[in-house]
């Protein structure tokens, strides 16, 4: 039950080599082995979205992927998005709108919102709400998050 495997991947631009239990999920590996605690475990069931990260440019649930499945992959977490400046505009808008309260959902929200914006999504509130419906937030009621995403996209919200 505790078979180990070697893992080589890139996390936030740095090469990572590690020996990991094959049953460890990517989220636990990032949090516990690498100390990248920005990605959060809300359900470990693929539902809440608090663990959303980018793997090879695509948003995935870190809790639904085993660490060993990241072999050769490029992983970006909320820490990496902040360091590189990719999330800077969203972070400013989230702050201005108070689109976070406890902040536990926020790293996953940022990753999902960035996917929407980078995918060319427009300031359409219903579309933004639909896109963010894989990310639970128990504090904000979502409206401020939608406002923040609209602010970053610019243009009049529909």
């Amino acid at each position: 039950m505790t078979g180990m495997a070697r893992l080589t991947c890139r996390v936030n631009g740095e090469e990572v080599r590690a020996e990991v239990p094959v049953r460890r999920n990517l989220l636990d590996f990032l949090r516990n082995d690498l100390g990248l605690t920005g990605s959060h475990a809300g359900c470990e069931h693929g539902v809440c979205g608090a663990c959303t990260i980018l793997v090879d440019g695509v948003t995935v649930r870190g809790c639904l992927m085993l660490a060993v499945q990241a072999e050769g992959a490029e992983v970006v977490t909320v820490e990496g998005l902040a360091e590189s400046g990719r999330s800077a505009a969203l972070a400013a808008a989230f702050t201005a709108r108070n689109a976070l309260q406890c902040g536990f959902c926020t790293p996953g929200m940022i990753a999902s919102a960035l996917e929407y914006i980078d995918g060319g999504g427009g300031p359409d509130r219903a579309a933004i709400r639909a896109h963010l419906s894989g990310n639970y937030c128990r504090c904000t009621g979502y409206q401020a998050v939608v406002d923040a995403v609209c602010d970053v996209i610019g243009g009049a919200a529909k």
């Binding site: 809300g42 809440c48 989230f94 702050t95 976070l100 902040g103 926020t106 990310n135 128990r138 409206q143």
Partner: protein, 794 residues
């Protein structure tokens, strides 16, 4: 005139402005400090064996195989743990007659709800601890379970605590006026309905989590706590682990939502403290989501029968309720599980005048997870029952919901006054607030839209609700009953050598923006740039003693203490400045980090110059000047048991009569929370609260089968509101500051959760009324709507 009362006589740079939160940057960069982020040297991890039965005798528990598993540091059964943790009893003396037996940290001999911890494993990793839990051999002899609260008091129900002779935990009655006479008056129309409120739970996105770190050299236990009341937790740990209070430090950094869920005493967390002490190393426990659903306190669970009698002109003659609520097998410690029912009795109908009020509440034990205080304790029940009945009475009279409320709301010039249930009320604005609601929601236009939709065969409904909210509690809430829960809070403000303020407070932050508003108050009252204010909360070793954040008290009580401390420090600093500048204190002021001439605003001295002189070159000061550049003040509400707020809410929904689905098209909330310190943060609190309320009204329910098995223990099965289903929510304010404090702030965090369910219920019934149908059960699921419509038969 001097003194803190003059603070609002002059322009204030921060109080009342939408300052962004300084904490946001950290959270947005993935640099939060949540409990599960903590990694300590030699830390081990706990997992629990939990009861699979609702009620059973533990025949045997064999942990030998578990102890031999890889990575395992220790295993404790309930009986073994009982040697290290004393049991607790969740009663308070002011809730006369409330009874609950001693509750052990882990079950001993008998399990009384599915999910109750039975044994604890501590191992090198959580995965290894779970592996070992699997190897514990437990043999149970199932006992008959008392599951449904409606049957818990019947003579043939299994009695969960035989020593009590029945499953009744508490009963209370309230009676004002002559109900029989009031209802029997000529022309009084009487309406009776039975309301059911399902169990739901908080679903904090960060589960319950704790790291306990014991240092045997100093006999000191540090609890890293995801919660709301650090000083209360210090006392609880001290009492039940047998350590001196001062040897316990409770630290609460970032908390991923709490809503009342994390304020209670959970046996598994206390057992983790015992384990850390016995193993002399740090132990972490983070509940997984299934454990959260099974063991985080549940909320609500009421059946209320309500009767209202109204005169032909809509005035309420009498209001009568009978509330039955199930709390699980124990009353939760130390706040008790009777407060919810107590609030229902206190608050039902509190916005309205009436000739007679009668209420009975019964709190019963049952073999389900424990029920206790969650955001807006008792409010959603009290508000939905009174306002649901009022709408039903209005329908009987053919009277518009707004009009019947206008007829009955306590007049804005009637305060101070007392509610029918005996609550002291002051500084409320129901009439003004309802008028504002009608305006912001565009009531007439919505009625027109509703009529047009009806003509198309689309069923839309408008729901209105007027409410009160209990905030800023005084010692009458818990302290009076013997709970180790402070009702006063403290604030310290310190001027440092560089001219910055370090402030600390005993209220805590769980995302509301507590730290931000404390900084706003300190900066505004003292006179520095907010960027130069650093805040510490949530550490019993460093902050003043106090109650923490619950019952919407952070801003009103913690904020007032901060105002008083900042003002006191300002006076102390000006006294020093007066000596240094050879000027009269009243001729000086502090603005934007500088000592200035009060009349002209001309700079006389920088704050850093003053502070450096005091700290580094005291030799330059006269020998008899004893400068104090730190001030601490405490505050409690002393002239009222609680400071009530009021609000009015409006919902517009569309009910699909084919599928039974209810869509919320719009929601409006008008709040009077007194002085608004930060409008952006208040509005977001209201919106988040409304969404939790909509969740309770439409989606959320902990479903048990007849055996007491919880059926929905994943986020996929238990529905919470998601972005796509929620409307934009319009928030507006009426500001009637409370006279109990200078700041004038009342609480705002729970109103949405307290009021939204009733507004949604009223809206759904408004939509269904032309079809001759109505629903009186929450959540209002599609199935319940279809049953009400007769589409689905019982």
């Amino acid at each position: 005139m001097t003194g803190p009362a003059t603070i609002f006589d002059r322009p204030n740079r921060y109080i009342g402005t939408a300052e962004p939160r300084a904490d946001a940057a950290r959270l947005l960069q993935g640099r939060g400090r949540f409990v599960d982020d903590i990694q300590l040297p030699r830390m081990v991890h706990a997992a629990f064996l939990r009861s699979p039965h609702a009620h059973a005798r533990i025949v045997s528990l064999d942990v030998a195989a578990a102890r031999a598993m890889p990575g395992v540091a220790a295993v404790w059964t309930g009986a073994e743990m009982a040697a290290h943790v004393t049991p607790w009893v969740g009663v308070l003396t002011h809730l006369a007659g409330l009874r609950s037996p001693p509750q052990p940290a882990l079950a001993v001999d008998v399990v009384r709800w599915q999910g109750e911890p039975v044994a604890m494993v501590v191992a090198a990793t959580r995965a290894e601890a779970e592996d070992a839990v699997e190897r514990i051999e437990a043999d149970y002899d199932p006992l008959p379970a008392a599951v449904r609260m409606e049957e818990a008091l019947s003579p043939d129900a299994p009695v969960i605590h035989p020593e009590f002779g029945s499953n009744l935990a508490w009963e209370r009655r309230v009676e004002t006026g002559d109900m029989a006479a009031a209802m029997a008056q000529p022309g009084v129309t009487v309406v009776e309905r039975t309301f059911r409120f399902g169990r739901h739970t908080g679903v904090t996105l960060e589960p319950r989590a704790t790291v306990m770190d014991y240092d045997p050299a100093e006999d000191r236990l540090t609890m890293h706590y995801s919660g709301q009341a650090p000083h209360m937790m210090q006392v609880v740990l001290s009492r039940h682990l047998g350590l001196p209070e001062e040897n316990i430090r409770v630290i609460s950094n970032d908390v991923g939502g709490s809503f009342g869920i994390k304020i209670h005493t959970y046996g598994d967390e206390i057992a983790v403290g015992a384990a850390a002490r016995l193993l002399r190393r740090p132990v972490k426990f983070v509940a997984d989501r299934m454990e959260s659903f099974m063991t985080d306190i549940h909320a609500r669970d009421h059946v209320v029968t309500g009767r209202i009698g109204v005169h032909a002109d809509g005035r309420i003659a009498g209001l009568e309720i009978d509330d039955l609520t199930g709390i699980g097998p124990f009353s939760m410690y130390p706040r008790t599980s009777a407060i919810e029912c107590n609030q229902v009795l206190n608050l039902t109908g509190a916005p309205y005048r009436m000739e007679a009020y009668r209420a009975r509440g019964r709190v019963v034990f049952q073999n389900k997870n424990m029920m206790c205080q969650y955001r807006a304790v008792g409010h959603p029940i009290a508000m939905a029952v009174a306002d649901g009945l009022l709408d039903e009475a209005g329908r009987a009279l053919g009277m518009d919901p707004v009009v019947i409320r206008q007829r009955n709301l306590i007049a804005d010039d009637a305060y101070p006054t007392t509610s029918a249930s005996g609550m002291k009320l002051d500084d409320l604005s129901h009439q003004k607030t309802l008028a504002k609601l009608v305006e912001v929601m565009g009531y007439e236009a919505l009625r027109a839209d509703q009529a047009a939709a009806r003509a198309r065969g689309v069923h839309r409904g408008i729901g209105i609700l007027s409410m009160v909210e209990v905030t800023n509690p005084s010692p009458m809430f818990y302290g009076i009953g013997g709970a180790p829960i402070a009702s006063q809070d403290g604030a310290t403000v310190r001027l440092d050598a560089g001219g910055a303020l370090h402030i600390s407070s005993s209220v805590t932050e769980q995302g509301q923006g507590t730290n931000a508003i404390l900084a706003q108050i300190a900066a505004g009252v003292f006179g520095v740039d907010i960027g130069r204010v650093k805040v510490t909360t949530g550490d019993t070793a460093t902050v003043p003693y106090g109650g923490g954040t619950w019952a919407s008290r952070g801003a009103g009580i913690g904020g007032e203490a901060m105002l008083l401390a900042a003002h006191a420090l300002k006076e102390q600093v000006l006294e020093v400045a007066g000596v240094m500048l050879q000027a009269g204190v009243e001729s000086l002021d502090i603005r934007a980090g500088k000592i200035v001439d009060e009349a002209t605003g001309a700079e006389r001295m920088g704050l850093a110059d003053l502070a450096r002189t005091v700290y580094y070159r005291g030799n330059e000061l006269p020998a008899d000047l004893k400068p104090e550049l730190v001030a601490t003040r405490h505050y409690r509400v002393s002239d009222m048991p609680f400071v009530f707020t009021n609000g009015a809410m409006g919902a517009y929904v569309e009910v699909d009569t084919d599928t039974g689905f209810t869509k919320v098209l719009g929601f409006w909330a008008v709040e009077d929370c007194g002085r608004v310190i930060n409008p952006m943060l208040v509005d977001e609190q209201v919106r988040g609260g409304v969404v939790q309320g909509i969740g309770g009204a439409l989606y959320e329910e902990c479903l048990y089968d007849d055996q007491g098995q919880l059926l929905n223990t994943t986020m996929a099965d238990y529905l919470v509101p998601m972005a796509a289903e929620m409307p934009d929510i319009v928030v507006a304010h009426v500001e009637t500051p409370t006279k109990t404090s200078i700041l004038g702030a009342k609480g705002a965090g729970e109103a949405g959760t307290g009021g939204a369910p009733g507004a949604i219920l009223n809206a759904v019934n408004d939509a269904l009324a032309p079809l001759g149908a109505s629903v009186w059960q929450m959540p209002i699921t599609p199935e319940r709507v279809l049953r009400a419509l007769g589409v689905v038969a019982d």
